[in-house]
């Protein structure tokens, strides 16, 4: 092992299983922290690439692995990061710290990071395995959907969460005839608060997307002779039938915990990790969508699935593997792009507290939730800097006045500057 960094632990040779955002970030962060030994990233995918555009820009012209990749093989090589793409890990041995690949190769490690992410949750109804039914998680999934969609293609999207909603936007913009099916009247209320969730959900209807509030009973071939083979009916529990050439299921993900479970690691709704992102097996860490953190009081945190959470988790894992203090996290933040609007959300917008809507003359709206004089959540449509300011108000626990926050003539950033301690920014008096 090469001695590296100033941490209390030398990770030695690191094998990272999973080259998505968390795994890739961990690799880069290890190098930034001065780690010099071997790093190998294993992933069944063709590259380490960015996934948000898969739903948001699905039908755009510049959609390619080259555009989506975080780095070229050459750039990774220059950082001394060895990649084993198009290979998956078959098993890990937590005692000997080895990773066995599907081609029989055994990678020897001193530290293993599991960043295996999640896979789309499958619909459990008759016909869910028909060839007309797709999911979206990888670039291959995206390419398969792209290959099926033309102007006028009838597409049913099952699930109106972030992925389903963004797909509805991308596909309807490309001229597909989209039906969006979800049992909830206003999806995403818990994630973005009832006011914003409702406003965004209405955009579907404005764009001509047909909304069905229902659950799926079955997916059946269409018997009608006027329709080509490969057309199906999505049969709704309420009795309706939605004729579709393509069905896309977006009902969440299931964490890929099999490797960890087979190796005897503690697994709940994800691979359980401590504050330093180490699993129950010494030398084995987990990060990203697949990891679930045990809090100091022994309870498990909610597993996170947003982009930034994966990025920060990868950074934290690198610190943990180096035995360095793990950087603290602020309020969770995410964005969604649909129907030409850019929405950002930070913190919590549902549950207890005082909800405030701020509306400027131009129709721009921001949403806040205050509890006990502190901001706990904020969101805005096409007004990212209000959310970036709110995020700092939340993380720095700056007391806020509901009246000022609701006043569109007062920039939210000024609330931060006014109360910021002078030493945080030298040039300010």
């Amino acid at each position: 092992m090469t001695t590296t960094g100033a941490g209390t632990r030398d990770p030695g040779a690191v094998v990272i299983v999973g080259g998505g955002l968390a795994g890739y970030t961990a690799a880069i962060q290890l190098r930034r922290l001065g780690h010099q030994s071997a790093i190998t990233v294993v992933d069944a995918e063709p590259a380490a690439y960015d996934r948000p555009p898969l739903s948001k820009r699905l039908l755009d012209d510049d959609f390619s692995i080259g555009e989506l990749a975080f780095a070229t093989a050459g750039e990774l090589g220059a950082q001394g990061i060895v990649t084993r793409f198009r290979r998956s890990a078959r098993s890990i041995d937590p005692e000997r710290l080895t990773v066995t690949l599907d081609d029989g190769d055994v990678l020897e490690a001193d530290t293993v990071l599991l960043a295996t992410g999640g896979r789309p949750r499958r619909l459990r109804v008759p016909g869910a395995d028909r060839p007309e039914v797709f999911v979206l998680r990888t670039i291959a999934d995206a390419a398969a959907i792209r290959g099926q969609v033309r102007a006028g293609t009838r597409v049913s999207i099952i699930g109106a969460g972030l992925i389903g909603a963004e797909l509805a936007s991308s596909l309807s913009r490309a001229g597909a005839l989209v039906s969006l099916i979800d049992p909830v009247e206003v999806p995403l209320e818990a994630a973005m608060g009832p006011l914003l969730a409702r406003e965004l959900h209405l955009l579907h209807r404005t764009a001509g997307v047909e909304l069905h509030r229902d659950v799926i009973a079955a997916i059946e071939p269409t018997n009608d002779v006027d329709y080509a083979a490969g057309t199906v009916d999505v049969v709704l529990d309420g009795g309706g039938r939605v004729r579709s050439e393509l069905v896309i299921v977006g009902i969440g993900i299931v964490p890929n915990t099999r490797l960890a479970a087979d190796a005897g690691l503690t697994v709940a709704d994800g691979i359980v990790v401590g504050e330093d992102l180490q699993t129950s097996a010494p030398g084995v860490y987990a990060a990203g969508d697949v990891a679930v953190r045990r809090l100091p009081d022994g309870t498990l945190a909610r597993r996170e699935e947003h982009w930034e959470a994966a990025q920060l988790s990868g950074q934290q894992a690198a610190h943990g593997m180096m035995g360095l203090p793990v950087p603290t996290r602020g309020a969770p933040w995410f964005w969604t792009d649909r129907y030409g609007v850019h929405v950002e959300v930070v913190g919590r917008l549902s549950g207890s507290g005082e909800a405030i809507v701020r509306e400027d003359g131009g129709g721009r709206r921001a949403f806040f939730l205050i509890e006990e004089g502190l901001l706990v959540g904020a969101a805005a449509i096409d007004d990212p800097n209000t959310v970036r300011a709110a995020r700092r108000l939340i993380d720095q626990r700056v007391p806020v006045d509901a009246r000022l926050l609701g006043d569109p003539d007062i920039a939210v950033r000024s609330l931060l500057t006014a109360t910021r301690r002078p030493e945080t920014r030298g040039t300010h008096a």
């Binding site: 955002l21 970030t25 960015d50 948000p52 975080f70 780095a71 982009w307 930034e308 990025q311 933040w333 964005w335 792009d337 850019h342 990212p384 800097n385 970036r388 300011a389 950033r413 500057t417 920014r425 030298g426 040039t427 300010h428």
Partner: protein
């Protein structure tokens, strides 16, 4: 002859904000964003290298601009990427502050040929 173009007076760009200089006006391939971060002025290509967004509308703080779209972070001083999703740096231009004027000297590699 003095190099570059006077783009603003120092009091025309508030702290924590930026202006854009039209590419056609300054002769570059992209608009240039001129930032005021705590009284220090910086100039970068305005378009984020990740997706089409104007960095002049980003969050400016502590020598960093955060893209308004997906929060990729760039160093104001040299345009280097500090945080994904951006992976390629933005071009950086020289800024000269004389008395109360801000002059930008475009990066020769970013001049329109």
């Amino acid at each position: 002859m003095t190099e570059g173009v006077i783009v603003a007076r120092v009091d025309e760009i508030d702290d924590g904000t930026a202006i854009t200089v039209d590419a056609a006006l300054i002769g570059t391939v992209d608009d240039i964003a001129v930032f005021n971060d705590g009284g220090r002025f910086y100039a970068l290509d305005d378009t984020c290298t990740h997706e089409k967004a104007s960095l002049s509308e980003g969050w400016i703080e502590d020598g960093v601009v955060e893209c308004p779209l997906h929060a990729g972070k760039f160093c104001l001083g040299d345009g280097e990427v500090l945080s994904m999703p951006a992976t390629r740096p933005v071009a950086c231009h020289r800024v000269v502050v004389e008395a109360d004027t801000i002059r930008v000297i475009p990066n020769p590699e970013r001049l329109r040929s």
